[in-house]
Symmetry: D2
Subunit: 292 residues, 4 copies
């Protein structure tokens, strides 16, 4: 398939490489040009140039502002994509932006599938992402071969805002896991238990999800640097989850608690830490040092 | 081994039966006599009578008050157990009581192992409990054959208060899971997503612990009755976790949030619901009915 | 002074009347024309028409969106006001909008004073408002005669964003008072105390601020309708306080708690209640009816 | 009147002196004898000795444990007080203990009035206490001359537990005031406003209760030492308020928030600070130093 791939960050590069390896015909674009990032792909100088002759335009960008700019600006996706082509938006964005994108593309006779992913760069490289596409059945169907080249499992949601929400709720659950393990391990440590041994018990019995194992290990060893997912990005997603709740009059006090923890971590100068670094604030509330 | 087994409730009966089946010589006692509950076991008329000639006394009782009464009352375990014998306390109790029991038995030349378990009655019957013993190395060692007849895995903690705390933290993590899934699924439902389908995505990817699968299913279908673990018992454990934190100046705001949810559920008359029924309060806060 | 007065709502009408009565030469504008609202004042058909020949333009509008539109739209204040004239913005707005207005007017050679007020319509009519102006010393000084015709006390802040923040913090403190009295009186009522008598004790001793007396009375009698200040407006201000905190990495958990209460009240259909109706949610959490 | 006064702490001494000055016939007792603390009073060597021949026994002690010991121990008030005499308990105690005391004295044919006070030692010395008596109408009536010699205002509650609760709710409202002003002033300071000037505006307009003025000043100047009321005592009262709520299934999330703040302050070694020092934790959450 002819595909435009916009956004060559830590996630975008391995994803684009996998698509090229799967035999797709790729044109790539990045705000800061990276001409050699994806072997076999052509480079475009603007989103519009990249999108003009493709069936599918994929965006994998940092946040709402980046997506808005790349799609709605003069040289953006919306104006350049052909009628009948489809935009596959794989960034984590607000529910409101997913809705706005679906409406805008629909009004241009284009398709739109919000298709956020779970997984870090190593999972992207290994084609092990979990993908949550939301759009019309036809648009999801034609995106499927591409999604299968990128991930290990596909869980369709009924529409684009639903897919955006599902992703935000997943990130909220990660924050909730960090908060709950953070509280448990801080108390355990202060009570004289070995956090790693307690964690082994917990994740070796009934609490053993991949998320609990992965983040529990970071928290128990306080290995908050280097960041796998930077703390300000986690804060952004906590806010987006809260905003999705506010839109429907649904309070999310646990999301609010984690939002506050992340703000405190930023107030203490930890913008470069992993988002699991919110547990450092829990430690300090217990009278422990931020890191062991 | 000659064993006294005190407490023939929903958990105690299958556990005692497994011990009898494993060939141990059992004398049992229950506040309300249940003479035929454990085939092959003798019945005693008081804790003291049960404990007089045994190497090991096991208690599996409802709460701190029940354990205190059975151990410290005139006809209790403490006064009747021989020097050198050991008390294996498998109830979920406060950290403070675990410490007090360890001290009291030690002053009598008796052993004490706090040995709480994870698992419901069906797991007890199937010898699938997870067991967290805490005591001296020698006392844990001599309890081990008994524990192996009851569970599928044993995770020793350094002492009795540590074992009690590990269990309370486990129950806190269950409450945290209920809270986080409750918030996520309430917002999803209000946004028009199918909670069961969303849950399938979440637990089919990176959030799939046994606890998340089990309680997620209950919450998504709002099947809060009949209770597997009654709501007031969950509240009791939330309070014990908070008390353990207060003792060490460790705030646990997420535990406090769930404590409040459970209080609200009780204020609304749901004492007979499962503790996962705290999610009914989350639903009402979102403007949804308590059950679908 | 030649004054344009934009916004003839429940607050604007009595304020404009007081200015006319004080001898100022007034031209008024309202989105929905109200030609006879202010005796002696001329009516303009657009903000621009109203502002063209005045020394001072006063805005008293519902929210950020209304102010943005009236100031920045083609026929708005910014384009019409003469160099050297001043905009006195008396609406409750976000810190961010106050900053943006100060910058925009400054770049046009115009003055800007953010000058929010404390007080309800009856206080406005009685010239009993408390006014918190923030701008350059010169701009505040030339606004002073006008402010003195409107209120009983003037508390200058160093700049426009500071004045906007001071007002939002005041509204946050009202929400905090409602929350704290709501919790106290709900527990008292459930314990069999008479809430009104308890309140009399509290406000008759050391808790007797005007806010505590006024809102305490409403809460004790659950007189949440008719609204003096509608619940969604209170929610808006709680969000603006939280946003001001987020901008500076300052968590405000008590503001977050009241935000959640207000969301719950809206989810239960209470958009027409007074913002003190957040106490109805506290009552329901205690198992009481929303109103006595 | 013949009066026994038990408890010569910072509050008890000035109160006892005022009673002696009012012409009452006083016998005093303190755990650590203070023979010259109250001119004109005799000293007893035990609570029982002090109580044997009096019409009224007043207790002014630190906490539940002290009151329980002085009343229920072998040489305590309960056994020594004559039938028909009355115990006036002026300490701040739990609702549960107030109930238990009322029951115990009643079963001995004695009266009991829980009669907690608002005010610090300087108010006690100046006879400016606010007093909240709760007991039978007859017992409150006969206590009245004594109460009038101690305070400036008397607000009867229907019974002893009600009076205990009213006092705890008052202390909860002080904590709520500290929390709300702490959040507001921390954000203001970080936004560049002068906290003292903002406070002047707030308490000079509609937020001006004695509590807000007094504690606002401490918070704005971060004068957390020396303590007027030590932080661990504030924590004790926060816990008693929460316990009163738990007994009736009434969650008090704002009380819970302040409890957590106080725990954090203790975890950071601030046991000697004033309870308003909870605001130091708010400051640190905002990235400010604990004190300016």
């Amino acid at each position: 398939m002819n595909i435009a791939f916009l956004g060559l960050g830590a996630m975008g590069v391995p994803m684009a490489r996998n698509l090229a390896a799967a035999g797709h015909d790729l044109v790539v674009w990045n705000r800061t040009p990276k001409p050699d990032a994806v072997p076999g792909a052509r480079s475009a100088t603007s989103p519009a140039e990249a999108c003009r002759a493709v069936e599918l335009a994929i965006t994998m960008l940092a946040d709402d502002a980046a997506v808005e700019s790349v799609v709605f600006d003069r040289d953006g996706v919306l104006g350049a994509l052909a009628r009948g082509a489809c935009h596959l938006g794989m960034s984590t964005v607000s529910v409101g932006l997913a809705r706005r994108l679906a409406d805008a593309h629909s009004s241009q006779g284009q398709g739109f599938v919000a298709s956020p992913v779970f997984g870090r760069p190593d999972a992207a490289a290994a084609r092990k992402l979990w993908i949550v596409p939301g759009g019309t059945a036809a648009d999801v169907a034609r995106s499927r071969p591409v999604l299968e080249a990128l991930g290990q499992g596909i869980f369709p949601m009924p529409d684009a805002p639903g897919a955006a929400l599902a992703k935000l709720l997943g990130n909220f659950l990660i924050l909730a896991t960090i908060e709950s393990l953070g509280e448990a391990l801080a108390l355990a440590e202060k009570a004289g238990l070995d956090p790693e041994r307690l964690l082994e018990m917990l994740t070796g019995t009934v609490f053993g999800s991949p998320i609990a194992k992965n983040y529990g290990k970071i928290i128990a060893t306080t290995a908050f640097e280097p960041a796998g997912f930077r703390l300000p990005l986690g804060l952004k997603d906590a806010k987006l989850a809260l905003a999705a709740g506010e839109e429907l009059n649904v309070p999310l006090p646990l999301a609010g608690l984690t939002r506050d923890r992340l703000l405190i971590a930023l107030a203490r100068g930890r913008a470069d830490w992993d988002w699991s670094g919110l547990a450092s604030v829990i430690r300090e509330d217990a009278g422990l040092s931020p890191r062991r």
